[in-house]
């Protein structure tokens, strides 16, 4: 029986994720944290703003987590995304996997973040000094 943690929150506390992924049958825990970077394409980012279609986002996150648990035989998995305004260095997303061996948790962790970015209905607006841009909206 694997434990999944799927959450959309206002603020992420990255420090607690290892406790959440700890498991006696796990020899490896891999975690990725996405944070706000101060420059993008050479322009200084003031903050990011995240918006979500929460009901659907949680469903899509749960699908991704379930797929990963099955494919890599994970003991625990976590997908937690933040919404609202985020400053430089703040965490915006945490994904992690806990498994018997390290191959599985590394591959699963990479899958979690890559798939989240493709399918989960969350939108990011980059706020610069003089403008705001919805990321990826235009070709």
């Amino acid at each position: 029986m694997s434990e999944k943690i799927i959450e959309i929150v206002d603020k992420i506390d990255a420090s607690k994720v290892f406790n959440e992924l700890s498991h006696p049958k796990s020899g490896g825990i891999c975690v990725f944290v996405g944070t706000v970077r101060e420059f993008t394409k050479g322009e200084e980012v003031v903050s990011l703003e995240f918006e979500t279609y929460k009901k659907m986002a949680l469903k899509e996150m749960d699908k991704i987590a379930t797929e990963a648990v099955v494919k890599w035989n994970l003991n625990k998995v976590i997908i937690r995304h933040a919404v609202g305004l985020k400053e430089v260095e703040e965490p915006v997303v945490v994904v992690g996997a806990s498994s018997a061996h390290r191959d599985a948790c590394f591959e699963a962790c990479r899958y979690l973040i890559d798939t989240l970015k493709k399918t989960v209905p969350i939108w990011k607006k980059e706020r610069f000094e003089n403008k705001s841009v919805w990321v990826s909206a235009h070709p």
């Binding site: 996405g34 995240f50 918006e51 979500t52 279609y53 009901k55 659907m56 986002a57 469903k59 995304h81 915006v92 997303v93 973040i113 989240l116 970015k117 493709k118 399918t119 989960v120 209905p121 969350i122 939108w123 990011k124 607006k125 919805w134 990321v135 990826s136 909206a137 235009h138 070709p139």
Partner: protein, 80 residues
Amino acid sequence: MNVLFFGIAKDIVGSSQITFSDEFKKPNSVAALKAQLMLSYPELSKLTSLAVAVNSEYAEDDVSLTVGDEIAIIPPVSGG
């Protein structure tokens, strides 16, 4: 039938929700809804992609729409 808008789609439409109350005008498929919206809001057709969710699941063009459905317009996602 309620249609929810998010991200840049919300900005283009100028609202987070549109209600199709007139049965006559209600689009009966995902494709019809997209066509109608793009006609009314041409900026939507300039986006990288435009997906539709029906009852919080991605829906292909041929999915039909009924009055009780919760429909959402999904511009290019950019989480993470």
